[in-house]
Symmetry: C2
Subunit: 519 residues, 2 copies
């Protein structure tokens, strides 16, 4: 060991996997309970991305069993997704910062980190490799791997690789790993996670089997959201580095005009012309002739021009009001649901869409403040609700304006879709308070709350009518007796007649007020 004097420091370089090995709590792998939950989550989210992004209705199977009591746990996740090209498998599972999610498109995975952290955690706690079976749709083989990581070099170690002919049409991926985890403590979180995942993917079949639990969620629709497309950057979303790179990777012989039309979101001939004129830039200048300061000037001009189109939603994939309703019904079985999908909005050039659902009554328990279900790019967020912008908005809203008096059976579902969700950390558990996002969540909740108010108003009127009917009914026997005495007709007959008349009046009254039966 090198001995250093007190006035010296020893400098060294870490590989990315070394860094995350030392700081695994940053990615949510802080202890065996959290690590187990996080592992399940990363595997399930990869499986959903592998199906849903390619319009395959997901069939996901999750099997957890206790391998060696008390804390060696085996986790298997299987999907019917597009599979992984077999030459990519070692890197996808064994190299930090390697992946296919580094494009401008909404997906669950973004950091290219989660699955590697699961492999790493399994390896350092049990010493065991991860096992993978996969086949792509057009492949004629099925590949099976066992992989570990060389942490200090950030490279995969292939323990075994096995290729065999594919005789069926099977495609997809099965991953199995043995990790240290506390099932008893993690169980509730994992169940909750799977339930919420089922809420946001009503078109997915999800089967979950744990040591002492089995959950089966059959899809209640085959309709799927339109998959997102890979998008181009928006002029408001770029920085100097990005602009330089875009210039670098393009044919430097093209003109500035062609460049901005080709490389940026929503820039057509008209907008390009207007921008160049406004910015006093020569559109015919070749990219290769731009000096450093001209590039800086171009950036500043692009950022301050007000004539760009707003970012579009092509690279986003919201659920839509119908599917969101289906999902909420499948899990919460409420008496009433309203869903709202807002139009595309944007922050710093990143397009985003907010979806909100309000669910009332039915199996929802009475609570002192709304139960909140948070989702970002279809990922359920379970931890750190206290610092999430959605919680702040929900708490800020004056629910009494919408005829909600707590305790009440109210759940709020908030879903944020974006090519760049402003997460507060790599653990992906809370959304930062970006002003534009906050405003949209607020507007979406208020919009939905207005529908809820209408519903609650009707319910109240209906109750009032029923109460009125009961009150009036009480007098029928007495009136009938009096009339029977006067007219000599049978008391029972008169009472029946009166009841029918009352029913008719109530129905008319009810219609007049625009009431309808809710079912």
């Amino acid at each position: 060991m090198v001995v250093l004097s007190v006035l010296e420091e020893r400098y060294e370089s870490l590989s990315p996997s070394e860094f995350f090995y030392r700081n695994r709590e940053i990615a949510g792998f802080s202890n065996p309970t959290r690590a187990l939950y996080q592992t399940v989550r990363e595997l399930v989210e990869n499986s959903l991305d592998a199906t849903e992004l390619h319009k395959i209705p997901p069939d996901i199977k999750i099997i957890i069993s206790i391998k060696e009591p008390p804390d060696l746990v085996s986790i298997l996740v299987e999907d019917n997704g597009i599979g992984i090209p077999h030459e990519e498998v070692p890197f996808v599972f064994g190299r930090v910062f390697y992946g296919s999610k580094y494009v401008l498109r909404q997906s669950r995975g973004v950091f290219g980190l989660g699955i590697k952290m699961a492999v790493l955690y399994a390896q350092i706690t049990t010493g065991k490799p991860i096992w993978i079976r996969t086949s792509t749709m057009n492949s004629k083989i099925i590949a099976e791997y066992r992989i570990k990581m060389d942490i200090s070099r950030n490279m995969p170690i292939v323990i075994s690789a096995n290729f065999r002919k594919k005789r069926s049409k099977w495609h997809g991926t099965i991953v199995k790993l043995i990790t240290k985890g506390n099932w008893t403590l993690a169980r509730r979180r994992i169940e909750d996670y799977i339930r919420r995942t089922a809420m946001i993917t009503p078109y997915a079949d999800i089967y979950f089997k744990g040591p002492d639990v089995e959950l089966i969620f059959k899809r209640n629709t085959r309709k799927m959201p339109t998959p997102p497309k890979v998008g181009k950057p928006h002029p408001y979303g770029i920085d100097l580095e990005m602009l330089r790179r875009l210039i670098e990777i393009h044919n430097r012989n093209i003109t500035l005009r062609d460049f901005i039309m080709k490389c940026f979101e929503g820039v057509g001939e008209g907008i390009a012309h207007n921008f160049l004129e406004w910015a006093r830039l020569n559109g015919d200048k070749k990219l290769k002739d731009l000096s450093t300061s001209e590039i800086e000037n171009l950036l500043n001009k692009m950022k301050s021009y007000r004539g760009w189109r707003r970012p579009r939603a092509l690279s986003l994939s919201p659920l839509g009001e119908d599917l969101l309703r289906k999902g909420i019904e499948r899990i919460l079985s409420p008496e009433y649901v309203v869903t709202v999908t807002r139009k595309t909005s944007s922050y710093s050039g990143n397009p985003f869409i907010v979806e909100v659902g309000l669910a009332w009554g039915g199996k929802i328990p009475m609570v002192r403040s709304p139960i909140l279900y948070r989702f970002a790019n279809k990922i359920p967020l379970l931890y750190d609700e206290g610092v999430d912008v959605a919680r702040q908005v929900v708490d800020k809203i004056d629910w009494s304006l919408y005829r909600v008096k707590f305790p009440a059976p109210l759940a709020v579902i908030v879903h944020l879709c974006s090519t760049k969700v402003p997460f507060k950390g790599v653990g992906k558990e809370a959304i930062a308070d970006v002003v534009e996002v906050e405003k949209e969540i607020e507007n979406a909740i208020k919009e939905a709350a207005r529908s809820l108010r209408k519903y609650l108003t009707l319910i109240e009127r209906k109750r009032a009518l029923i109460a009125k009917r009961i009150t009036i009914s009480k007098y029928i026997p007495e009136v009938a007796r009096a009339l029977a005495e006067v007219t000599g007709t049978s008391e029972t007959k008169i009472a029946k007649k009166l009841s029918l008349i009352l029913d008719r009046i109530m129905r008319t009254e009810s219609k007049k007020r625009g009431d309808i039966d809710h079912e």
Copy 2:
């Protein structure tokens, strides 16, 4: 551009700097306000580490000026630290995951990330390099560099390097960068940060000049905490990967007995003997003869043995009760302070120490719940208080048991020192709820609160005595008049005499109850 079918994905690898460039909000660089604060913070913390860890009383100078309105800001930070060896400068500032902080020792920096993020942010928003002047204590030259980063390769780009003879005894580092930032919005945070830094470093001279503000904190002590030593891992703190590496880097010819004595914290001959006997392991076996499963067995045995010594505090550097009190007095000017430094404790093999201060009255405003000042390894934590374990503990405590009735002028200072602070993210703003840490914070606060209660009890008694005195005084003229009539002595004389008697009684009373003047 490659066109991909909907059923294919494109895989790619990111460099660490590319990763953090794309996900800069994770490291706290989410917008120009936060980025400005974060940049100041990273620079100041590097400066404090460069002085304090080497027992140099820190002289820190921070100068912020607006370079180009509205949002081009220049930041300069200067220290009298040990300096950076000039050949290391490019990597220290231009390469992510490169640094000197990757050892088992308490320091402010741990991720080797912060300063690089500041460089990166400046570069992508202004295109300008960072400027550094540095000289180590024994060096005969002063080095000056201008550095940028090659983000996709994670390598420094040296724009200019300049070496000149050192004629003075100067050593230290000056860093200057120009970044995009919103001074108006960041100002309050930055001031707050510097004030709190001054609170936790009473032995530091800190000078801060902003565009419209100047803060000067002169040290009020020259005593400094003992710098931490680089420690060895504790048997409870290791995992399979670490154990394998330790075996790898050691002479594989040594015996198992020598290995555990040499490589682990607090393992002497006796403990080694007891452990090997308990674990039924052959201590004479050579390291090179251990099989994979024997290594796994060794790990399990080490983790379950209950006879290890608890981790020691050699690698920690708490402030201590005196310095913490000095720091609190320098910033809060309270009427009363109590400080508590707890003994070393540990979680998962990581030693930690909790220090707590309670400050009452003086310039502290009346608040509905205690003002909380959080510190971790002498870093002030400003954001995300809501999810910090310290806030949870403070809110859980029943303050009325300690005679505190809110609103009250109470501030709680919590300082956690550890070789591994369980931060919730790379932004280093909140401490995760590790059970052992939570318990220690609670115990520390309660211990301090008992002293506070004593003080408040005395204060109350004193107030009661004063009230009593006032009440009795009211009767003196009347009694004096009556006595004057009876005795014929002058009324004034008697009144004076009675006053003196009352004073004497009050003093005796006060002493009997153990009261003392507080000052």
